[in-house]
C-alpha cells in the first residue's frame, strides 16, 4: 500500500540524512566576524543580509505562494550577490521605511526609524554583564541553529530559544507568554533567509539578543493592555533586527559576547576548537 511504503522510505531518508556530517565550511565564518579586524569583512555581508532578513519578515504581509512540503530535500546555497533587493518592497509601510533606512545606513546617509523605543544601549556594559542560566541556554540553542544540518532543524532551535529568553526576563514573563507565539513566524522567516547561505548562518547567533530586546520593547505594551497582533510583533522583530544587523560594530559585539557566554559551558567553543558543540555542551 502506498501509505506504508511512504512511511518506510521516510524512515530510511531521515536515517541517511543524519549520517551525513556537518560540512566544515559551515563553521568557517563563525570566528572571523567577532574580531574588530574583520569588521570590513562583516560590513558587506550585513549590507546584503540585513535587508534580506527584514524583507523576509515583510513577506508575511504579502500574499504568499504555498511552499512545497519537502523543503529539507531541497536545501540550497544562495550566492551573496543574489541577496540584492529586487525592486521596491511593496507591503507594510513600516518595513518599507526600515529597508530604505538600512540601505541609507550602509550607503552612509540614512537613518533608521524605530517604532519601538528602547533605552540607549551601551555596548561595553552590555558585553561585561553577567549571564544567567537561561541566557547560556539561549546562546547554545542559537549556536545549534547556526550549525544545523537543515533549515527546518535550525528553525526548531530558533523557536526553542523564544520561551528560554522569555523565562530569563523574569518578572515580565507572564505578559511575554502572550507575546512569544507571535514572534515565531517573523523570526522563522528571517532565520530561513539567513540560514540559506553559509556565510550568513553565523548571524543566527544574534537572535537571542534580538528576541530579548523585542520582548523587552513589547512587554510594556502588553502590560498596559494594548493589543499585540501579528503585525505589531513582526514590526518589533524587524525593528530590532535592523538595529542589530544594521551596525557591524553592534553585531560583532553581540557575536563576541555570545561566544564568551556559550564558551564557558561548551568545551569545544571554549577551547576554540572547531568541533560540533552539540556533543560537548
Amino acid at each position: 500500500m502506498m501509505y506504508q511504503q511512504e512511511l518506510e522510505t521516510l524512515d530510511r531518508e531521515l536515517a541517511s540524512e543524519f549520517e551525513v556530517g556537518m560540512n566544515e565550511t559551515d563553521r568557517e565564518f563563525e570566528y572571523e566576524y567577532e574580531s574588530e579586524e574583520f569588521l570590513p569583512l562583516l560590513a558587506p555581508i550585513l549590507k546584503a543580509a540585513a535587508p534580506m532578513a527584514i524583507q523576509a519578515i515583510g513577506g508575511l504581509f504579502r500574499r504568499r505562494r504555498r511552499r512545497p512540503q519537502r523543503e529539507f530535500e531541497m536545501e540550497f546555497e544562495t550566492p551573496l550577490n543574489e541577496f540584492e533587493l529586487e525592486g521596491e518592497y511593496e507591503g507594510d509601510p513600516f518595513i518599507g521605511n526600515l529597508l530604505r533606512g538600512l540601505s541609507g545606513a550602509f550607503g552612509g546617509d540614512g537613518e533608521f526609524e524605530y517604532e519601538f523605543e528602547q533605552q540607549p544601549e551601551a555596548m561595553p556594559e552590555f558585553e561585561s554583564t553577567a549571564a544567567n542560566e537561561y541566557e547560556v541556554m539561549a546562546e547554545h540553542l542559537a549556536h545549534m541553529a547556526a550549525q544545523s544540518q537543515s533549515e527546518a532543524e535550525a528553525e526548531a532551535f530558533i523557536g526553542a530559544l523564544i520561551p528560554t529568553v522569555a523565562r530569563g526576563l523574569g518578572a515580565a514573563a507572564p505578559a511575554l507568554n502572550r507575546i512569544a507565539p507571535r514572534l515565531i513566524r517573523p523570526l522563522s522567516q528571517a532565520g530561513q533567509a539567513l540560514f540559506r547561505n553559509r556565510r550568513t548562518r553565523p548571524l543566527l547567533r544574534t537572535f537571542p539578543r534580538i528576541v530579548q530586546s523585542t520582548m523587552s520593547s513589547l512587554a510594556p505594551r502588553a502590560r498596559s493592555g494594548q493589543p499585540i497582533d501579528d503585525r505589531t510583533a513582526a514590526r518589533a522583530v524587524a525593528s530590532n533586527m535592523a538595529r542589530v544587523l544594521g551596525s557591524p560594530q553592534r553585531t560583532a559585539a553581540i557575536l563576541r559576547r555570545s561566544r564568551r557566554v556559550h564558551g564557558r559551558r561548551c568545551s569545544a567553543c571554549g577551547s576554540g576548537k572547531r568541533l560540533s558543540c552539540s556533543v560537548n555542551f
Binding site: M2, L141, E151, E155, G159, A160, I162
Partner: protein, 287 residues
C-alpha cells in the same frame, strides 16, 4: 470498486474531519456552557441555597465526561489502523536523532522484539473499555500547559516544515524547565529529536494531527529524566534517546491513550486561543 489511492484519500479526509471538526464542535458546545456562566452562577446560587448545588455539579461533570469519552472513543477507532505503523517509526526517528543511527537501530531491534505484544494489545477490541476506565482513573498525570499545546497545534497546521519546527521547538522548551543541570544539558537533544519526530509525522496528511503528541512526549521524557537524575543516575545521551523513544512509543501505543492526548491538546489549545473576557464582552455587545 475503489482503488487503493481513492481509499487512502477517503481515509485521510475522514480522519481529518473527525479530528478537526468533531472535536472542535465538542469544545464549542462546552464554550457555550461557559458563556452562560453568569446565568449558571445565578442558578447555582439558588441551587446551593436549596442544598442542591453539589448534585447539579456532579451531573454536569458526568455529562462532560460522557461527551468527552465519546469523542475519545471515536478518535481512537480512527487511530487504530494507523498507530501500529506509526509508533515504531516514530520511536526509531527519536532514537536516531539523539543517539545516532546505531542507537536508532538498537531501539528498532528492541521494538521488533516486543512487536508481538504490541500487535496483540492494539488488536484486541475488548481492550478498549478496560483501557478507557484506566485512562480516566489515571488523572494524576500532569497535563502539558495550554501555550505548549497551542504551539503544537500551530505546528500541525503550519504551511511549511521550517515554520512547523519553529513552533514545535517553542512548544518543547515551554514544557522543559527543570532544576536538574544534567537534564538541562540535554534540552537541545530533545528539541532536535522533537523536530525530527514532527518532520516524520507531518510527512503524511493522515499522521499530521499526531504532531500534537510532541509536547506530551517531551514533558514525560523530562519527568522520567528528572526522576533518574534525582536518584543519582547518569543522564547520558543514550539514556535520553532510550527514554524519549520509549515515551514516544507509549504515547502512540494504544489508540485510547493517543486519542486522549490529542483531545486534551485540542481542548487546551482552544482555551488558549479564546479571546479574553473583555474582548468577549465587547463582541457580545456588538461594539
Amino acid at each position: 470498486m475503489l482503488d487503493g489511492e481513492t481509499l487512502q484519500h477517503e481515509f485521510e479526509g475522514e480522519f481529518e474531519n473527525e479530528f478537526e471538526y468533531e472535536v472542535q464542535n465538542e469544545y464549542e458546545l462546552q464554550n457555550e456552557y461557559e458563556g452562560e456562566e453568569f446565568l449558571g452562577n445565578l442558578v447555582g446560587g439558588a441551587m446551593n441555597a436549596l442544598g442542591l448545588g453539589e448534585g447539579e455539579s456532579e451531573y454536569e461533570g458526568e455529562y462532560e465526561s460522557e461527551a468527552f469519552l465519546g469523542t475519545i472513543r471515536r478518535l481512537a477507532s480512527r487511530l487504530k489502523p494507523i498507530l501500529p505503523k506509526v509508533a515504531p517509526m516514530a520511536a526509531r526517528l527519536v532514537g536516531t536523532a539523539i543517539g545516532g543511527p546505531q542507537m536508532g537501530a538498537a531501539i528498532g531491534q528492541m521494538l521488533r522484539e516486543s512487536e508481538y505484544e504490541f500487535e496483540y494489545e492494539t488488536g484486541m477490541q475488548g481492550e478498549y473499555e478496560g483501557e478507557l476506565t484506566g485512562e480516566f482513573e489515571y488523572e494524576t498525570v500532569p497535563q502539558t500547559e495550554a501555550l505548549a499545546e497551542a504551539l503544537a497545534g500551530a505546528a500541525a497546521k503550519a504551511q511549511n516544515e521550517a515554520e512547523a519546527e519553529a513552533y514545535i521547538g517553542a512548544a518543547v522548551t515551554r514544557v522543559m524547565p527543570t532544576k536538574s543541570p544534567a537534564v538541562q544539558k540535554q534540552i537541545p537533544s530533545i528539541v532536535k529529536a522533537s523536530a525530527q519526530l514532527t518532520r516524520g509525522l507531518r510527512k503524511h496528511p493522515t499522521t499530521r494531527p499526531l504532531v500534537r503528541i510532541v509536547p506530551t512526549v517531551a514533558l514525560r521524557t523530562r519527568q522520567v529524566l528528572d526522576q533518574r537524575a534525582a536518584q543519582g543516575q547518569p543522564i547520558t545521551r543514550p539514556v535520553v534517546a532510550q527514554v524519549m523513544a520509549s515515551q514516544t512509543r507509549n504515547a502512540l501505543k494504544s489508540p485510547i491513550a493517543t486519542a486522549r492526548i490529542l483531545a486534551n491538546s485540542a481542548k487546551a489549545a482552544q482555551k488558549m486561543n479564546q479571546p479574553s473576557a473583555p474582548a468577549r464582552k465587547k463582541a457580545r455587545s456588538g461594539l
